[in-house]
Structure formats: structure tokens, C-alpha cells
Subunit: 371 residues, 2 copies
Amino acid sequence: MTGPRLTPLAAALPATVPFVGPEAQERARARPFIARLGANELGFGPSPAAVAAIAGAAAEAWKYGDPQAHDLKQALAAHHGIPPETITVGEGIDGLLGYLVRLLVAPGDAVVTSDGAYPTFNFHVAGHGGQLFRVPYREDREDPAALLAEAGAVGARLIYLANPDNPMGTWWPAEAVSATIDAIPDGCLLALDEAYVEFAPEGIAPPVDTTDPRVIRLRTFSKAHGLAGMRIGYAIGHPDLIGAFDKVRNHFGVGRLAQAAALASLRDTAHLATTQDRVAAARDRIAAIARDNALSALPSAANFVAVDCGGDGSFARTVLNELIARDIFVRMPFVAPQDRCIRVSCGPAEELDRFAAALPGALTVASSGAG
Amino acid sequence: MTGPRLTPLAAALPATVPFVGPEAQERARARPFIARLGANELGFGPSPAAVAAIAGAAAEAWKYGDPQAHDLKQALAAHHGIPPETITVGEGIDGLLGYLVRLLVAPGDAVVTSDGAYPTFNFHVAGHGGQLFRVPYREDREDPAALLAEAGAVGARLIYLANPDNPMGTWWPAEAVSATIDAIPDGCLLALDEAYVEFAPEGIAPPVDTTDPRVIRLRTFSKAHGLAGMRIGYAIGHPDLIGAFDKVRNHFGVGRLAQAAALASLRDTAHLATTQDRVAAARDRIAAIARDNALSALPSAANFVAVDCGGDGSFARTVLNELIARDIFVRMPFVAPQDRCIRVSCGPAEELDRFAAALPGALTVASSGAG
């Protein structure tokens, strides 16, 4: 019996995965976390209207979701003041990035991102045989000028830029993003990941212009809307590009309850405002905890804060591991020098209290050189 | 401003989609259906335990689903008596078929299916540049001998076979499927779509043998478990092949509530038995409705019945259109001579009553040559 042969591309892919989930860590530790602050989820929870929409639609879970996500797209179109045909709804930004890479990146095609930026994007580029070029962060921000220069030099099909950035929480003002779009090389596209944009101050998102074929905007209900477990996000772009997603996407891939929850959440603007206030307060609290431990927190426009542990990557990794040993789930940047930080997601006060209680001990171990 | 260039493969793909959803039809008609009998959904609804699991987990929708789907895989492993590493969970069979094709089919590689079988599989093969070869149905069944012969002749990487079949509802006994697996050419894989297997009589599913690298089994919670709107299915196969899905899948693509619902449904074996009884009764009812209209119903091992309208494809299409005009959502096979039939999904008695009430008028129009 001979098994099937993977394609040469698939055979060459590593078995590594972008992220290990907290549940896997809990199983390995045989103990639950007491603070879930590592995946930039919204620990404050979704809109009660979204919860009610899910519960209310549960008995209709036997029906496939509308493959056109018509009602949600209409609502999003009205929300953004754009035509519905400039929106595609997908299985979170992860799913949409996968389709986007598949549409644009043939084996060997060049793609540019920042070294240390979102690894799931890199996973998709590798998965479709793209050649990934990385430029370093500059002062803990992604460096649009360097991204553009590299894209021009290598003839990139696609540039990835997150604004606000993950994992650092840093950002560029709208004018800088607009200038970046204006400088995109011919035939290249900017994938502008705005997963965290609802947490950012006014003035960081350029106006949405769906006549511009050089940029696609990626948004999600996983972060500010607190619906990560429903798997739903959307992309905004030129209708020619948005229409092309229909060539490759899993048409019935977005669930019925996910669509219902997203629609209810989009309408609950009061809850979003409350969420924004809670996240802002939690960012301040994380910064205060950092200060109390003689550490510095980076300014953040997202629902997480990069805390500079004041040493190198090895030091920060010890802090991270010691926090995990104290049942606090956090993560950290992958690449130096950003890996001097740990990344702490905003969450309810009691979870941040637990983080605050655990941090001094973790730092003591790291400072002792043990751990 | 120059837009991005699609890859040559993506640029060449048609914009057609596998299925138009009933919601799109309702919008076009500006009127809702009164019987939802076209998408082989489970109109009897999911397990109350699954509904309760969804409602109970709704407030936790802010957490990503476990990317390893650990608890569900453990339960499935116990259910099937196989190791968990022989199971991968994905966004329905549609999503899993997409990953499977991507793993095995490079541009130009040959794939074999039946002419008129599941179009979403064909969509994925085209989407990855595979070359699709089709063999005809034989007496309204997929023809394993012809599939094997064609696969050998063209050097196929992948063969698709559904048992029970969709859209005809016909089936092969386990021995025939086992013999097919035993005759798979070297280097080829049988994708055995068992979406409807829970509705079938005993003895059509070969024993699960996860040491056999020549077959992958595809199962879903969308049909017998009535959770189409949650988007969750799974594949069973040799651990080498199952492990390869981790190279390409959307790791966080299966929602938290979908996993919770599937787990609850899997445990509710009493509800599954009730569902099986209801589906069997509905099949009989559809066959009786056919007889009452001097039509014949094909024997079915699935949750739908192909009703032979007694004419050609044009005749059946008129019947279909007239049913839709009477607010009855049904579908029909795409390819002759199977397109002499309409396909009616099992559903609650009141919906079948509405179908029964609408059918004579639809047949009258078709017989008059109008419509």
C-alpha cells in the first residue's frame, strides 16, 4: 500500500504552526490559567446583544449561513459608507489573509513584511510558495519607508502592514499610511491589517477609498467586538479584488450564528464605546503595573501593551515563563530587539490584579539568572 | 494607480460559485420560502443538548476556539475507536476538501470524480489548478470501477467518491467500497465523502482503518447532527496525511461554539437515533408524495430523495422552477440523465405537506410545456 504524495510545495512546508493555543498550554501544565491575557482577546466579553443573538439563533444552527453574508454586508456598507460589493466576509482575518495570498502570490513571488510581525501572514505566504522578505522594525514601529523600498527592490506582489501594530501596539497616523499607499509600486498591493483599529485614537485610519486598487483593509469581529470564537472578519477593497475572493473562498465557511452575532454587535455602538473605555483603562493599569515594577510600557493603540522588561530576549522569556508558571497566560514578541518585551492583553481588573501579583516574583527569578 | 495582479491561476478561474444559497433566491424573489428542502439541511433541528451548549457558551464567544480541537478530537477518537492523531477537525467538509486538494494537487495534476457529483470538490480542484476527469454515473450510482480505471489511465492523485452519493442518494455496500480502496493506484488517494453516512443502513461504511494510507474519510456535523450553521466537520485518515493538514489549515478556523456544539451533539446519541427515525419517515413520505403524482422516487440512504420527474432535464427544471415559484426550496442534479430528477431534502411533516400541495401544480405546468 502506497500512500498519496503531497505536492512538492506541501511536502516542503514545515509542520510548525503559527500559535500554540492557551488550551494546549493548560493541558501540558495540567492546570488552568487564572488570567487569560495572551491572545489579545476581549476579556470584557462581547455585546450582550451579540450573546442574545447567538442564543436566539442556536435552534436555527441547522441552516447554513448565507454564503453572501448579505445582511451583514449591507450593514457594514452602511457603517462605512461604501458599496456592499467592496466588502467580503470571511473566517476571520486569518482566513481572509489566506485567500488574499492565494489570489496574489504564485510560487516564487516576492512578499514583504516586517521581521516580527504577524506570523500567520508568513504562514500563508510560505504555504503558497511565496518568497518572504522582512525588514526590521524601527523604534518599535513597522517601518513603511523600508517596506516600500524593499518591495520595490524585490518586485513584491504584496506588502503587509498592521496599524496599529501587533505585537508592539505602536501605530502610524493616517497621513503616513496614506502616503504609504500612494507610494505602493505598480502591481503591488498593501494588505493593511486593521484588526485593532477600533482601540486606536482618532486619526490613524485613512479614509476608506474603495476606488483605490492598491490597498485592502482587513477588519475583524474578534477583537473590539469580542467574537473571536465565532470566526468572522471582513475585507474592504476595490470591487475587482473583492470579487476575486469568490473564486477561491469557502463560500459556506462563515457560520450562520457568526453572521447573526456580528450584525448584532455592529449595531450595539454603545457597547463598543464601553469596550473602548474599558480597554483604555486596562492599558493604563498595565502601564501602572509596569511602573510599579520599575519597567516601562510602550504606548499602545491596541488592546494589549508591550511591557519592556528591561533586559534582552532571554530575560523577557524567563519573565514570560515564570508568569506562565504562576498561571498567567501572556505572550511575547518573537524577534530582537522587540523580544525584550512581554505582551499583555487588556482584560478585566481581577485578571490584571493577578498579573500584578505574579509579576514581581517572575522578575525576581529572571533577575537572579535562574528560571 | 495600478492594481495588483492576480496569479495566472487565479486570473483564469471563473467567477462562478458552487451553490446559490436559498437566502439569495429569497431576496431575488422578494418572498420567503415556506419549505426549506433544497440544501440537505436537517430541518428537524439539532440536538437540544447542542442548542444548550451553544447558548451556554455564547458569553464565552470572546475566546478563540482551541486550534487543536482537543476535547472534540478525544471524543471522536473514542467514538470511532481510533487514535486522535488520525482525526483533523475543519470548517466543514467543504473546508477540509479544500485543504486536501491543496495538499495533494499541484497545477496540472489529474483528479477523478463522477460527472454530476459534488460541485464544491470540483471548485477546489479547479481552484488549485488540478485537471479534473469525470466518469459518468452508472444506473444512478457512482461507478467505482470506472473511477478506478480512469484514475489509472490518467495517473490521478485523488479520486472523489461519496457514499451515500449526493445528489442521487444511492450507495454501495461496504464490501464494494473496501474493494475500491484495495484497487486504488499507487500514489493516489480516495477521498471518501461520508457526509450522509449516519442516515444510511448498516453495512455501507467499511471499517475505519487508520493504518491505510490510501483513503481519507470525510464526516460532518452539518447533516445528521443538524449543525450546518456552525461549520464543523472532520476527516479520518492515516496520521501522516492528517498531520499534513496542519501545514496549510486555518488553525483558528473552527469556532469555539462550533466545537462545543459538536461535542454535545456527539454525546447525544438518543437524539441522533430520533433524527435517523425522522429522516427515514420523511424519505418514505417523499416517496409516497412522488407515487401520488405518478412519479418514482429513487431509493435513498441519505436525508434527501431524488424524485424522477419522468421526463428530461428540461422537464425537471420546469418542475423545479414551478416549485420555487410556489415557495418550495428544492434543488436538482446538474447532469443528464440524473437531471431528470429533483432532489428533495427530508424535513418536518408540515414542510413536506407544503411540497405535496405544490407538486401537482408544478407538474401540470411542466406537462403543458409552459413554465
